[in-house]
Subunit: 333 residues, 2 copies
Amino acid sequence: MKKQDLVNAILGERCSLAACRDQGRAFAPTNIALCKYWGKRDAELNLPQTSSLSISLGDKGALCQLRPRAQSDSFSLNGQSMALVSPFGQRLKAFLDLFRIKHDFYFQVDMQMNIPYAAGLASSACGFASLVLALNDLLAWGLESRALSILARLGSGSACRSVVPGFVEWRAGSSADGMDSYAERLDENWPTLCIGLLIVSEREKPLASRLAMERTVATSALYSAWPEKVRADLHCLKKAIKEQDFRLLGETAESNALNMHALMLSAWPPISYALPETLTAMQSVWKLREQGLLVYFTQDAGPNLKLLFQAQDREQVSAAFPSAEIIQPQLIE
Amino acid sequence: MKKQDLVNAILGERCSLAACRDQGRAFAPTNIALCKYWGKRDAELNLPQTSSLSISLGDKGALCQLRPRAQSDSFSLNGQSMALVSPFGQRLKAFLDLFRIKHDFYFQVDMQMNIPYAAGLASSACGFASLVLALNDLLAWGLESRALSILARLGSGSACRSVVPGFVEWRAGSSADGMDSYAERLDENWPTLCIGLLIVSEREKPLASRLAMERTVATSALYSAWPEKVRADLHCLKKAIKEQDFRLLGETAESNALNMHALMLSAWPPISYALPETLTAMQSVWKLREQGLLVYFTQDAGPNLKLLFQAQDREQVSAAFPSAEIIQPQLIE
């Protein structure tokens, strides 16, 4: 099993029962990709076809508390007990199987998330990242963020970007063992950057993003052009962030998201995460831009939009989208 | 001017006043592309980046009646006088400038169209095709369909597919003078094939398809993959038509249309001809397919859908889309 090999290679001699503490605890922010991760080159190791770039959402994310247990795992989310057989429960259990330091070693996982679950805000990203950080604390691994990012990636690809704050680049890497595919923080802050969560529907996704990715890579005739698009967008985003060029950031992020959704539309059977309300919201954004307001959007594998704008335009954006929840991810740093 | 050179090369000695009759008259069907024409390699000569394939809609189209006039052109559409300065009037006049056989030679053009104008049913395609066929009649050129197709192409790219009935392939060609880029009828009939016109909005297009094409080719990072997609789709469509394999026809046509719209979504600024109602209609089609009904759609540069299905399913499709106008384009042939 490649996953366990990778974990063993990273942890080496670190996995000793003697080092285990009474509890581990860590917070990880959720993240929104400005250049998307869409398509894997290795499904077991969550190795991506391309690099990607995200912004971590400050204090929005998951707080994970871990305790060792003698008999069977026990999970809770926001104070509610979670069944081991639920989809998220099964993923957590399978992930923890990689880290049991002896026979009959189990975990109590208590997770608190302060993000709206239905907003498509990558709850699995911050969930797995916080779990890895809490494991690092509980088992006193003393790992650096690069190794922690690789471990988080094994839980959920985009989780590797949630082990650090700020702007984060996940380098795709090229090695087969997955040791060079991890996320790193970019050394830039942008305190006036705002994100508005525009929830148009709280319905469950009709298709898991993992399956949508697989189908896109397998059937879209346009996918062959995606890696080059990502290379160009990553260049523009890094330039935009360095120079705080908001127009370049917004155009690149919106174009990147629309290209990802274009790929899905070009798959067979076609995939559309957009609802009629999504299209209406996009058209509102485009109309506001025509009127001179610098507001852009990005969209993940769901119907909701994340608006991108600057603090100076906060009031106007709020007036146009009264239901949007506004976050200024780097204000407090 | 390359256009006039091409016209002269085709007409040769044919343009004599002596041959001119009292009137010319011709009908041309409109056509719906099953494999789309999207992107030009030469804007003046309407030379396409790729080949395309359409079905001509039987007796739905334009009937053109032409008479010579001594003073200024005069146009009417469906009995209503059309201003020379209207957008269509200007295009007609510029096109007719290519064919004036002497100084002070003008045309009276009376056109009747029996297609819903707002349905995105390529009224310029059948309009220019019927005009060229009527010129051939009026001026007694005696041209074959290949030459007529090239001339019609100069009026509107997709008009070159409307000079013949049935399934039609427009071969892209490769020469710079445009002499090898014309449409030809495929030697196949499919009497049970049905098309349903689903009009979700009669609003004018927000962006002319010519401009949308230009923007797509200039800015879409995914466009580089389109020619290969077209090659594959043309192969599948010809196979489907030959073997009357409706599932293959429907899947290929719908996928081709969605790939074209994906390209537009990936352009900058993004282009979306879909309205919220368009998305709702697509989702209805997808749901009907999940329930086992073989119905597909194609979409052109507008919000309306054209449903594709077989005569045996006509009642079920009508029940699901009561407002759809149903055409059986090859029933009468």
